[in-house]
């Protein structure tokens, strides 16, 4: 329990104005350092789960606790703060803000969280040093750092998104289909990189994908369709 980073219990969620419960999970937990693959095909309630973990959705019943904080008993803005401080997100595609440079996109996480700001400063001399260090690790060439992100390839953009998720070493990294826009060869390279960086940063990794072939590098695999007891026929992805 002390090591539990994420714990869901007896959880049910229903969208406003929807007739049926769309997510119903008995129990889900992740411990510190876990790297969990969540198999979630379209319509299995994947986006809903991410929204609940990120604190932008609130369950109808049950509890969600992140690092010992009970999400259902704190205010929406406290949930926003918790998300900013402790979770890094990597999405499927278009992860970056088009009008910011590569470095500014990475530093975005530190702008909304004082904790990640100070943790980033603790590991580098300046925020820019820390962003540069992460970008180096993720094979983004130094000359790209001040380019507009729209000039980057999709693979480069996804790696910049990983740098943004990892800066300030959040306890949890949630990746939602981050490889779906990459070709097979690059997928595995990207996965290796992501895993390595999460280990470096001591972050628990939740990797959600509809592609089971990617599950090999993880130390746990959870299939959302068998976890979710709700009848999910609707498409929420």
């Amino acid at each position: 329990m002390a090591n539990s980073v994420i714990r869901l219990e007896n959880l049910a969620f229903r969208y406003p104005n929807a007739d049926n419960v769309c997510l119903d999970i008995q129990e889900l937990h992740a411990d510190a350092g876990d790297r969990i693959f969540i198999y979630g095909p379209s319509g299995s309630g994947k986006s809903t789960l991410l929204g609940l973990l990120g604190g932008v959705l609130t369950p109808e019943r049950g509890t969600i606790s992140l690092l010992g904080h009970e999400l259902t008993s704190i205010s929406p803005s406290a949930r926003d703060r918790l998300r900013a401080d402790h979770i890094g997100f990597v999405f499927q595609q278009f992860n970056l803000i088009p009008y910011l440079s590569v470095t500014d996109n990475v530093l975005l996480s530190c702008r909304f969280s004082a904790r990640r700001h100070s943790r980033a400063l603790a590991s580098g001399n300046t925020l820019h040093d820390e962003a540069a260090r992460l970008l180096d690790h993720l094979d983004i060439a130094p000359e790209l750092r001040h380019r507009p992100v729209t000039q980057l390839s999709v693979g480069q953009q996804q790696r910049v998104a990983v740098a943004r998720a990892l800066i300030g070493r959040p306890e949890i990294v949630i990746a939602d289909e981050p490889t779906s826009a990459l070709d097979a060869e690059r997928q595995s390279a990207f996965l290796d990189l992501l895993s390595r960086e999460c280990i470096d940063a001591d972050s628990t990794l939740l990797f959600v994908s509809h592609d089971r072939r990617l599950a090999s590098g993880f130390n746990r695999e959870i299939a959302l369709p068998s976890l979710n007891r709700a009848e999910t026929t609707q498409e929420f992805a």
Binding site: S47, L50, V56, P76, L108, R164
Partner: protein, 420 residues
């Protein structure tokens, strides 16, 4: 908060083409609004200073506004004239320092002709007590001399030495000419921006002379007195139309006003020009307020365009908003981000608008002054204009809440995964 503002600015810069057009429309509408306000202000100022230094305007009993209209603006006709004896009684009153008698009723190509004395050129002041000056020539010396205002000279292309004939009555067509007694232009007055510019000045005696062979407003048939003999007649006027009065001491103005209003021989009216000009402006100001209201509406249209552009962009920005949410932005932050954008663009538009207006004023003020006699003073933002700009800001702030709220709702509904 500071970061949000810089984010809003950078986001706006990223869409600079679309928003640039919006900035343009706001700049133009603000320039129009403030421009109208300035013209209005300057018109009122120059109107209020059409006559200065004159303590009382005296005429036959009528309404104060009408007296001002014909005595100062030479618009319309006097209901009645004042006897010469009355004029002399007022002129010798111990409170009175000077008097300018004016006699009207004739015109020249639509410009009013005013019969007066040399006192006119000495005592008539306008603006901040500015005396009349001659751009060329000198006051009238002999009987058939005329001094013309700047606009009369420009419009009709007259110079010193030109011969002009006066028409009987006001207007431009269908009037009988005093063709037998032509006048010579001896002086052209410098531009004042007042009705003086549109006036032809002759001596009181000249008015008398051209009407020697007239009776009851028409020429006596078969009877004519040639110009060269006119000076042989008694040319002391029997009547004048109005008198501008300057007092030795302004404190005596109400006492003098009472003396005139209670004059026993004929019913007279004395008005304080400042008060009457204010009343007159009230009549005119309906139009200028309508103009201001229209330009206010143009600003509102510009702001509506801005809001429409920002709202239209919201859908393409859902991903961006979701990213901001994922790194910890609160829905309130999203609200502020989008509201700040509208406000930010309005501020830039206003700055551009004021710059545009300054440039236009600097370029066109001399042209406007020479064509319309309206003095547009280039200046920094006045107190009244700040009020107007503040109102524009207020309206834009209110209007910007709409896209802010739209984005707020959208980001609450979308959460971290926008459905696009």
């Amino acid at each position: 908060m500071k970061y949000l503002l810089s984010l809003a600015a950078r986001s706006a810069w990223n869409r600079k083409l679309t928003l640039g057009l919006t900035v343009m429309s706001i700049a133009l509408s603000v320039a129009l609004l403030i421009g109208v306000e300035r013209v209005r202000q300057d018109a009122q100022d120059s109107f209020a200073q059409s006559v200065s230094g004159t303590d009382l305007v005296v005429g036959a009993r009528t309404s104060p506004v009408q007296l001002m209209l014909y005595a100062v603006f030479h618009i319309g006709d006097a209901t009645n004239n004042i006897h010469w004896q009355t004029y002399q009684d007022i002129a010798v009153n111990p409170l009175v320092a000077w008097t300018i008698p004016v006699s009207m009723g004739d015109s020249h190509h639509g410009f009013p002709v005013v019969g007066t004395t040399m006192d006119y050129f000495e005592h008539f002041h306008y603006g901040e007590s500015v005396p009349l000056t001659f751009s060329s020539g000198k006051p009238f010396a002999s009987l058939f001399d005329a001094v013309i205002g700047a606009e009369v000279a420009d419009h009709l292309g007259y110079h010193i030495g030109d011969k002009i004939t006066l028409s009987h009555g006001m207007g431009d067509i269908g009037l009988t000419e005093h063709a037998d007694k032509p006048f010579t232009v001896t002086g052209v007055l410098a531009r004042t921006g007042t009705p003086v510019d549109r006036t032809v000045h002759v001596s009181l005696e000249a008015i008398e002379a051209i009407h020697l062979d007239w009776q009851g407003g028409a020429k006596i048939p078969g009877f004519s007195i040639p110009a060269q003999y006119a000076s042989k007649f008694n040319l002391i006027p029997k009547e004048v139309t109005a008198i501008l009065v300057g007092l030795k001491n302004r404190a005596g103005v109400f006492k003098m006003q009472r003396v005139v209003n209670e004059y026993h021989a004929e019913p007279l009216l004395a008005v304080l020009p400042g008060v009457a000009l204010d009343q007159l402006w009230q009549v005119v100001s309906v139009a200028e307020r309508a103009l201001l209201a229209v330009s206010g509406m143009v600003v509102v249209v510009g702001l509506c365009g801005l809001i429409a552009v920002i709202l239209a962009s919201l859908n393409e920005r859902r991903r961006e908003l979701a990213i901001l949410r994922s790194v910890g932005a609160r829905p309130l932050d999203i609200f502020l981000l989008l509201s700040a954008e509208g406000l930010f663009i309005t501020v830039i538009g206003m700055l551009f608008g004021m710059a545009l207006l300054s440039a236009l004023t600097a370029t066109f003020a001399p042209i406007i002054q020479s064509h319309y006699g309206l003095m547009i003073t280039p200046r920094f933002v006045s107190y009244d204009e700040l009020g107007l700009l503040g109102m524009v800001m207020g309206v834009s702030l209110l209007a910007s809440l709409a896209p802010g709220y739209g984005a707020y709702r959208l980001s609450l509904a979308d959460g971290l995964t926008p459905r696009i």
